[in-house]
């Protein structure tokens, strides 16, 4: 009967190992964020947010970087949201059975697995060179929009799937056309889920660095972008640039920049989680 004892021992040992594993990643993240706060928090002040980049670490600020991130966020949203939601609506409400839809579906799954840097190569050739946008905000926004399109499409479809068929039938029963049904009934009902997906996708976009490096976003941009055709930098680019320098002062700058970037990321994710919970509660049909 000692077999039972040893079985129980293993059973319990794994329990503690499982708890350990569950928290190790989070503990690492906590250590790291704590470390960043210690390094960078003292560096954040009004000047840091409003200064242009500089070769001198103490004078350098993130004005061009955060305005660039704000531009990218806005432009990417304008491009990606209508396309992504429209594609999601088409796949879920119109093209369920046809061939095009099934090809698009496989294709989206594949696109979601393409490394972001490959999107950079696509953007470099198509937007920067062929469409001649150069290393501009517009080129960056188009590239990132393509990158997050699969996320928005999948989220839209999930949200539409959760809308019960009875709602569609009720609307058709009143003599509404398909589009009227979608426009007035289904999209409003699914809006919470769609919005959650959009915010998560945008949060992903503002954290991206690699594709923007490839399309030629610059680390050193001495002016605030005024039009979508201007050259730009973004927060992650600025952080990357500072991290790569040997002087410790720049590492402190990077830490301070990371605090701002994480703040934005966590706020966006927080909003998304909040919306998701709210929406899930509401949709108890």
């Amino acid at each position: 009967m000692s077999k039972i004892k040893s079985n129980r021992l293993k059973d319990n040992a794994f329990k503690y190992f499982g708890i350990f594993c569950t928290f190790i990643g989070l503990v690492m993240l906590a250590i790291f964020i704590g470390n960043i706060l210690i390094e960078g928090l003292g560096r954040i002040d009004y000047d840091f947010l409003t200064n242009l980049p500089s070769r001198k670490a103490a004078k350098a600020g993130i004005l061009t970087a955060w305005t660039g991130t704000a531009w990218i966020l806005g432009l990417t949203a304008i491009i990606a949201i209508p396309l992504g939601v429209a594609a999601g609506v088409y796949l879920e409400e119109y093209g369920k059975k046809n061939r095009l839809a099934s090809i698009v579906e496989i294709n989206i799954a594949n696109l979601a697995g393409v490394p972001s840097i490959i999107y950079g190569l696509l953007g470099l050739e198509i937007f920067v060179r062929i469409l001649n946008f150069g290393g501009s905000l517009l080129a960056g926004a188009f590239t990132l929009a393509l990158l997050i399109l699969p996320i928005i499409i999948v989220a839209t479809r999930e949200a539409l799937k959760a809308v019960p068929d009875s709602l569609r039938q009720a609307s058709y029963g009143m003599g509404a056309t398909k589009w009227q049904t979608i426009q007035y009934q289904i999209l409003p009902a699914a809006s919470g889920g769609i919005l959650t997906g959009i915010i998560l996708a945008l949060s992903r976009a503002i954290g991206e660095t690699a594709p923007l490096i490839v399309i030629g976003a610059l680390a050193y941009v001495p002016f605030v972008a005024k039009t979508p055709m201007d050259e730009f930098t973004v927060l992650p680019m600025q952080i990357f640039n500072w991290v790569s320098r040997p002087q410790h002062e720049f590492v402190i700058n990077a830490a301070a920049g990371i605090i701002i970037l994480l703040l934005i990321t966590f706020i966006l994710n927080g909003i998304a989680v909040y919306l998701r919970n709210k929406w899930q509660k509401k949709v108890n049909w």
Binding site: M1, K3, I4, N7, R8
Partner: protein, 250 residues
């Protein structure tokens, strides 16, 4: 010889009082049927005899369940050992997605028995007891999922027999099966009675009447009537029992 005893048993799921003051005694080497409408607590009660409710969040019980004179909810009782002694067969056949052979030896392997000869003997013996041997003896390495539903259920019974329990709990074992498979399971139960104490939950009153020695009727978490099967079905003492077995509700 009394084998199982429930003494003032109450059970709760969170705030739900699902079993109310149940007292019942079951004799060795007999078949006892639990009947009653859905939600009456008969399955919950059955599962208390091998503590299958332990992992359910919010489950709580009062009173005692005694098997072979020992209270099974005592702290020092090892639930693994208990379940080897009190086997269970479930409503839907649930073979593991492994070979037929692996299914039967599972219980032995988790006890640490590895001797191939012993295992092979047990496989043959259990499958013969479960009346499945002739059908599968040439395909022991085939996936258990390739068997028919009725065969799968007999495999699950063989799997339970392999660890040599003294009690077998059956939770509506034939409800997912066709009539032919059902009658095979019923024959099997009848033949197992010689060596095992069997408790079976069933929705099917004819089945209870056909196979059991004693029948317990549960309603709304209470044990309404417990008697020899023949007496309970022909002269029910309680009005609610009569209503149920004559089909007036259920």
């Amino acid at each position: 010889m009394k084998k199982l005893l429930a003494n003032k048993v109450d059970a709760y799921y969170g705030d739900n009082h699902v079993l109310k003051d149940i007292n019942l005694e079951i004799k060795e080497n007999s078949v006892t049927a639990f009947i009653g409408p859905s939600g009456c607590g008969k399955s919950t009660f059955l599962r208390m005899f091998n503590r299958m409710n332990d992992y359910i969040d919010g489950f709580r019980k009062e009173g005692q369940i005694i098997i072979d004179g020992k209270e099974i909810y005592k702290k020092k009782v090892k639930v693994e050992e208990l379940r080897q002694n009190v086997g269970m067969v479930f409503q839907k056949p649930n073979p593991f997605p492994k070979s037929i052979y692996e299914n039967v030896v599972y219980g032995l392997k988790i006890q640490g028995i590895k001797d191939k000869k012993v295992l092979a003997e047990v496989v043959e013996k259990s499958l013969i007891q479960a009346a499945l041997w002739e059908e599968v003896k040439d395909s022991l390495n085939k996936s258990a999922l390739s068997l028919s539903g009725g065969q799968q259920q007999r495999l699950c019974i063989a799997r339970t027999l392999a660890v040599e329990p003294s009690v077998i709990l059956m939770d509506e074992p034939a409800s997912a099966l066709d009539p032919i498979s059902t009658s095979k399971i019923e024959e099997l139960i009848d033949s197992l009675k010689e060596n095992y104490t069997i408790v079976i939950v069933t929705h099917n009153m004819q089945q209870a009447a056909r196979i059991s020695d004693k029948t317990a009727f549960f309603y709304m978490g209470e044990l309404i009537e417990y008697d020899n099967t023949k007496d309970l079905f022909t002269h029910p003492k309680n009005e609610r029992t009569e209503n149920y077995i004559t089909g007036r509700f259920g």
